[in-house]
Subunit: 302 residues, 4 copies
């Protein structure tokens, strides 16, 4: 698997009581496949993975793999505050035939570099030697940060750590990551609003929550960039920023409400999140339509 | 229960493989009872609660309640990233006869004030109307902060939210909390190093991880303060700061290593934490002995 | 001079065009003397010192020293971004008989510890060997921070560095400063809202901008504390917090507007500050009267 | 003047006692002219402008304008904590025929948006209606930040505010500035390390302290980008980052030491800065030579 491009951080659709809605989930998979994204990350931050229990997480992974196996690369997020659960989920992802796993760093507790290194080393060894593992660094959410030194050592001592998702607007740090890049180590940004400049610097792709709503936008940025059409890439990047601002930078209840505007069903959010009220939804709908029409009038949209 | 004074944030003793060691846990309970602390918080940050699964958390709570019921107030931490688990643990704490529960705010995800309010309101309603619930605010670990306005509204709309543990060195904010204080709302600091000045400002007590090692120190600060003996309170507060510096401000592997120096067994830490190596332990032992001897030579130690 | 207690950070009264108003300045001096504060800091942050040119700064110092010499200790702030100007102002303060000088760290440029040390060492040597020099640390305004290690070395290598004013709410750091304290090194806080707990920890006093408006409040906290009357000290500290909130934590235009409410004339602010508009002043007056009446009804006010 | 491209933030050469060295200053001007930069910013942060007195600042401006008038656009930094001095320096720049002025926001004191707006409005009105004025935003040094809303209002209400220099790595904020961009409002970044991605997003150029040492590097990035040669632009951008790391991100004593390695004389730094010691210089020389040789071996260097 040579992963690059747009990876949608898929939402998990729940009913009003918080139960997973399999039919909606399958439809979301079809929608994304149809929109030609390059992969899916399931059960990550946008997927509310850490709000679910072990069985629910396994169920989501099974449904998505069943729906898309062989059609679209699936990356399963296995991070948890309970490390035994991380390994259990990793094993499950391998068993059901998901294409790769990723795990957020340990969170809540402040970790040393050594502890972060040990965590990923152990994770790497809990799956087959050639099974792809991605790091996931989101310092403002976890309080922990993966340094380039730690990554360098992980690349040296393992065979299957193939990349990182970095959710931050720290452009200095990501340039350090990019120096570690090679055919076997990919750097994905998680910041929609920095996607085009990140591509210019050499990033391999974007993991995006807003791509649940508007995958075409990001796909167009990526395809245009690859064709060396900087003008189009920049234009659609700017529209991506308008979308990002509208959805308050990855706010999950807003994303789920936004999906309805595209006639797909992201369902309800799970506690402790709060679903948008009618007034908020109406405001969003109006603002979204405005941008949406502008974008659809642009030619190069794919 | 009129909770005030020193509440030890009890560590959870694990064996080398991460299994709970019941016998050690019971001994720790006896040690704390013997040292005349005013209560125990179990399965909190220092107790590595969120690293355990549901069954393990229930087991720890059952052992401690069995050991200390009627002898020392037990507060059970029920926070989790899975909200269903929070409610399940809360119900369990009530059922086994623990004296109160506390829960950290939702973490990892960024929450709105409304979502934080809703979370605690629902928690409050999931236990009996007169069962004590404490808020737990640790903004640097969770990324979320409980505002005084949210607390005010919670006090108005519930009957059983009786106080807050605030783990931060923000002295401005805690002074705002203290304005909400009344016979039915208590403010506990989680910052050993601000304990004495916090008492002066009106705090009801301290929830301390370092009290696993040296409860006498904090008990003496509190008792001296209550007798209006500011000189002694300040002196022992300063020694508390030396201890805090030694144990790197609540670092759990260091606390567990430190406990051995007092001939009690905190056991191993659970992944993703790393146990101190022999060299680190020896260094700590030497430094600890130095301070320990100084403190033991002081008269008013209780 | 054994400086301790309440040091008012005196405002500098300007007319509408920014010219120093000598008559108002002399009246402010008399007001402060009458209210029994323990000293004045002139031309500091609240005094808008760095907004003035060399001649204006010398003029203010001369007026105040002429008015109060022998009656109230005068500390002259000599900090500037032009280091030659710092030394020139220091020499002038000595020449006119001011009691001591202080200087903010270099600001705007990021300094190394060595550069901060060198700066104060050179300042210390530019005045007589027995002339009192105070450090002034205000990290959020300057971007630079004086570490305890730098202070320790300065105390060792000089004879006349007698203390520090620390404008910050970092209670951990000030406790480190307090460990350096001795009969010849004083620690003053610049945070009104932490004054009482700072006194409990051992601080020598407060340098306060709000004392321009309400010196009695802070004088009462200090005198009560010295008489071991913690109850009164705490009560007036809490009123001090209400005042601080009202004047937005040391906002200079608000302080000057507030002074009018006490029938003293702090004059206009100098550019780039903006004077409060009538509406803002009226709002302030109403809120101030409310608190003022409450405080005047309290008995122990001096 | 249609300013764009590389603007070197010229150092000011001092002798060991802090006196301006005219002959060195003239040589630096010739060096920069020769290297085909697009303009000079004098007396800015790197030029140690705020460490000088009024007469010294005027002298530097006069020398540079005399040397380069008509050959290279000169922007004079007139910012100061004394606002009268700002206006006096602005008038002087106009009088001697400098091409434009810029001023840092007020610093040290915390300013409101209204105060920042008023400051630049007044500055704009203190020079002829068609004389170019540039904003200069460096939030980490000043504690103040120019919001897009303030800029928008300034553009509406003035005729001669032509652009902004933004010294920060906040890529979100600069994208908001870029939305205000038009033929008459230019956006320059002050962050060498973000220069190439900033160009991709639409920035007009770079104001660089490291261009004192290695102007060719940045000139090549800019020229390549203009020719749509992204590959070369990115390559030289990456070398720029190596240089930036070497000179510790714009550290002035290091820049001045570094200039000697290119056989130009930046002179000594002024207090409170500390000149590099011999050991530090030797280390720098060794590291610099290594990168320098690599870069000179690259073909497209201009």
């Amino acid at each position: 698997m040579n992963l690059e491009g747009i990876i949608t951080a898929l939402v998990t659709p729940f009913d009003e009581k918080g139960k997973i809605v399999e039919s909606s989930l399958r439809k979301l998979c079809k929608f994304q496949l149809n929109k030609q994204v390059n992969g899916l990350l399931i059960l990550g931050t946008t997927g509310e993975g850490i709000s679910l229990n072990l069985e629910e997480r396994k169920l989501v992974a099974e449904i998505v793999v069943d729906e898309l196996k062989g059609k679209l690369p699936i990356m399963v997020h296995v991070g948890s505050s309970n490390i035994n659960e991380v390994f259990s989920l990793a094993k499950h992802a391998v068993d059901i035939g998901a294409d790769s796993i990723t795990s957020i760093t340990p969170y809540f507790f402040k970790m040393s570099d050594k502890e972060i290194f040990d965590f990923y080393l152990e994770l790497s060894k809990n799956v087959p030697n050639d099974y792809p593992v991605y790091l996931y660094n989101f310092p403002t959410a976890t309080g922990n940060d993966i340094t380039p030194e730690v990554i360098k050592k992980l690349i040296e001592e393992t065979n299957n750590i193939l990349g990182i998702k970095y959710s931050s607007d720290n452009m200095m740090r990501i340039q350090e990551y990019l120096k570690l890049q090679n055919p076997n180590f990919k750097v994905f940004t998680g910041a929609d609003q920095l996607f085009y400049p990140m591509l210019c610097l050499g990033c391999d792709g974007l993991v995006s929550g807003n791509a649940n709503i508007f995958p075409e936008l990001f796909v167009t940025v990526f395809k245009s960039f690859k064709k060396n059409d900087h003008k189009t890439a920049k234009l659609f990047h700017q529209y991506g920023n308008e979308i990002a601002k509208l959805f308050k930078y990855g706010n999950i209840p807003a994303i789920k409400a936004g999906m309805k505007l595209r006639e797909i069903d992201g369902g309800y959010v799970r506690r402790p999140f709060r679903n948008l009220c009618e007034e908020e939804k109406n405001k969003l709908q109006k603002e979204f339509s405005l941008i949406f029409d502008q974008i659809l009038n642009l030619k190069p949209l794919e």
